[in-house]
Amino acid sequence: MDNQKQNSSLVDNRFPWKHFVGYLLSVVLTLMALWITFSSGFSLSIIFAIIIVLAILQAVLQLLMFMHITERNSKIQTGTMLYAAFIAITIVAGSIWVMSAGHAAH
């Protein structure tokens, strides 16, 4: 297909360092979270704080390394990012609100 041909001419044969490093760092961040939770001995609230920071770090890392977030130019790209942010906030903030309000909290 014409589209495909165009794409394959764009493919370069260099080693995909970006993906490789991104993957390794993601694994490391995950293992750190596991270690901190199971064996660090910190108090619960500190553990929470640390793993939340680690999670956000990993999200940013993946957006940078895998998700082409630095490529701007298209309207679709911005739209998708905004929509994704909307959904993420809905899921997290919405769940916290729903689960902690009224009788549901007890």
């Binding site: 994704a84 769940s95 009224g102």
Partner: protein, 645 residues
């Protein structure tokens, strides 16, 4: 685990079903061997990456699942026809409503729609295949094997019985011991991969592979609805994936995300389930909306009324469908603020839905309407779906929902939207695009009989349930007493259910009848259509779809070019096509093995399957097959055959 726990042997109905499955299986193997069709099956179907064939396999599987889910339904209706019946016991009844719900939504509605999307969308946007044909095969086979894993539960090990919603703590190890619930978790997990990949694949296909001149606002409405469905799939299915994984951890590895003990939150499961679940109901309705739009416009011989309003209302639905989920558990008691908020968002989502209904009506207004079978299903949809929508808005009022919730009123609501919306849509789409798939139409006379029997049966079955619900009959009960006063309406409902069964048989008979007797189509334009899928030179498009990619100058592209009637002599160029591959099939089979191992907590098998899957993925990474070219002579030969006819 003993053998008699592995194969269910104490329930005559299940043993009967098991034996008949075995016999059918042996029969199929015998026929394939006898006709020497194994190679054909492998080369033409199991390894295919052609979107049209993948679509047909999806649809066949969906019809099979409609049969299984339908038999479940008739068994439930038989049990409930009279008070204190002993056809099914409580546990068996629970298993049946669980598998019925899960199968109908995930393994019937989804593949039916995805199948039609597969067949139609690339043709409708003037493409030769989807963006990632190999991935498309992976989608189908992971979906297929996930669904098979779920389906074997009732003969091997026992079915899940905690409802299609699988609320905790009921679905936990204490209250649902044994492999049943694990089947639910792993079956859905594996098939969910397929759905997510389909979402990604068609999003890219629609955004990147449209024919020249087809701007976003010139896309046919079915393409638009598929695009928006894909967006919802991509954002909703990961929630299900995570929720299923967490529950799997709870059940298999002793974690406490949703358990009552050790600080788990049981209702967090319900919360996550519906965060996916409500968008899911829109995933299964939007493509149907798109198909109705195409059909109504074609058979009114008019451009769709309010094209932009349709698009915007779907965009609004895509946003709102993610902020209404709590309406499924108002009764959890999150307080007045939460319930009011979600009542209002839920009622708001009725508005764009209503806008679309009016658009269809105005499309027909002053149109030259021809009432064909696909059109009949669409008209039936408009009437019946409105009943479902109106009762939906009744349920949306948080305070009132305390009365309706978990009664037959709710059952009736969602059947009025799912059957009159999704199922009617699938039937309409099947009749409409059937000539595109097999080269001849389904018989119109049988089709109309089927429509009337099914639709009348549907209303006889489900309308009384609104009243039963208001009379206080709860859902998910396996029997009731004569003194409850529900007997008469239940008998009526059961009669309606069997009428729907007859309707289904007529549909299947129609497939056979038309195969034998229908007139074969001579052109690609069976219904005097408006969009590009009807512009192919032959009734069944060649594997490369278009010898020359069409150009589009406006909405209803094919209709316009028919008006202009220019026939130029085309010069063919070689066409690049993807190669077939058996790896998606093999990889998904390994996933099945792995899932089966996890269901029974047989770790060695689970790990073996996982390794097999990984090997397939590694092999794929080193696969340098870039496809092949169909050369000009071959194209000329194929095309000239059609020209002569």
């Amino acid at each position: 685990m003993k053998w008699d726990q592995f194969f269910i042997t104490d329930e005559p109905l299940i043993v009967g079903a098991g034996i008949s499955i075995l016999l059918t299986g042996l029969g199929i193997i015998f026929v394939l061997t006898y006709l020497k069709k194994w190679k054909w099956l492998w080369n033409e179907w199991l390894t295919t990456v052609d979107h049209k064939k993948i679509g047909i396999m999806y649809i066949l599987f969906a019809i099979l699942m409609l049969f299984r889910g339908g038999v479940d339904a008739l068994m439930m209706r038989t049990q409930l026809a009279v008070p204190n019946a002993h056809f099914l016991d409580a546990q068996h009844y629970n298993e049946i409503f669980t598998t019925h719900g899960t199968i109908m939504i995930l393994f019937m509605a989804m593949p039916f729609l995805i199948g039609l999307i597969n067949v139609v969308i690339p043709l409708q946007i003037g493409a030769r295949d989807v963006a990632y044909p190999y991935l498309n095969a992976v989608s189908f086979w992971t979906f297929f094997f996930g669904a098979c894993l779920f389906n074997i539960s009732f003969v091997i090990g026992g079915s899940p019985s905690a409802g299609w919603t699988s609320y905790m703590p009921l679905a936990g190890n204490e209250l649902s011991p044994g492999p049943g619930q694990n089947y639910y978790l792993l079956g859905l997990q594996i098939s969910g991969i397929g759905t997510l990949l389909t979402g990604i694949n068609f999003l890219v296909t629609i955004l990147k592979m449209r024919a020249k001149g087809m701007t976003l606002l010139r896309m046919p409405m079915f393409t638009w609805s598929t695009l928006i469905t894909c967006v919802i799939i991509i954002f909703a299915f990961p929630i299900l994936t995570v929720a299923l994984a967490l529950m799997t951890f709870d059940r298999l590895f002793g974690s406490h995300f949703f358990t009552l003990a050790s600080g788990g939150m049981d209702m967090l499961w319900a919360n996550l389930f519906w965060l996916w679940g409500h968008p899911e109901v829109y995933i299964v309705i939007l493509p149907a909306f798109g198909m109705f739009s195409e059909i109504i416009s074609t058979f009114s011989r008019k451009t769709l009324f309010g094209y932009k309003a349709m698009v915007y209302s779907m965009l609004v639905i895509a946003g709102l469908s993610f902020v209404v989920w709590v309406h499924h558990f108002f009764t959890m008691g999150s307080g007045a603020a939460v319930n009011s908020f979600f009542s209002i968002t839920t009622m708001a989502i009725g508005i764009p839905t209503g806008v679309k209904i009016f658009n269809w009506l105005f499309t027909m207004y002053k149109g030259k309407i021809s009432v064909t079978t696909p059109m009949l299903w669409s008209l039936g949809f408009i009437v019946n779906f409105v009943i479902g929508g109106v009762t939906g808005v009744m349920l949306a009022m948080g305070a009132a929902d305390y009365q309706y919730h978990n009664t037959y009123f709710l059952i009736s609501h969602f059947h009025y939207v799912l059957i009159a919306g999704t199922v009617f849509g699938c039937f309409a789409g099947l009749h409409f695009w059937y000539p595109k798939m097999v080269g001849y139409k389904l018989n119109e006379r049988i089709g109309k009989w089927c429509f009337w029997i099914f639709t009348i049966g549907f209303n006889i079955c489900f309308f009384p349930m609104y009243i039963l619900g208001l009379d206080g009959m709860p859902r998910r009960i396996y029997t009731y007493n004569a003194s409850d006063g529900w007997t008469e309406l239940n008998i009526v409902a059961t009669i309606g259910a069997f009428m729907m069964g007859i309707g289904f048989i007529l549909l299947v008979y129609n497939v056979y009848y038309s195969f034998r007797y229908a007139k074969r189509e001579q052109t690609g334009d069976a219904w005097d259509g408006r969009t590009l899928e009807w512009s192919t030179t032959s009734a069944i498009p060649p594997h490369y779809n278009f010898a020359k990619i069409p150009e589009v100058t406006g909405l209803d592209g094919f209709w316009r070019s028919k008006q202009e009637k220019e026939t130029e002599n085309v010069e063919y160029k070689p066409i690049h096509m993807p190669s077939y591959s058996g790896r998606p099939f093999v990889m998904s089979a390994f996933l099945f093995i792995s899932g089966f191992g996890l269901v029974f907590e047989w770790w060695a098998i689970a790990i073996l399957g996982a390794i097999g899957t990984l090997i397939c993925m590694v092999l794929r990474s080193f696969d340098y097959d870039d496809g092949y070219y169909v050369n000009v002579e071959e194209i000329q030969k194929t095309e000239s055959v059609y020209k002569e006819v």
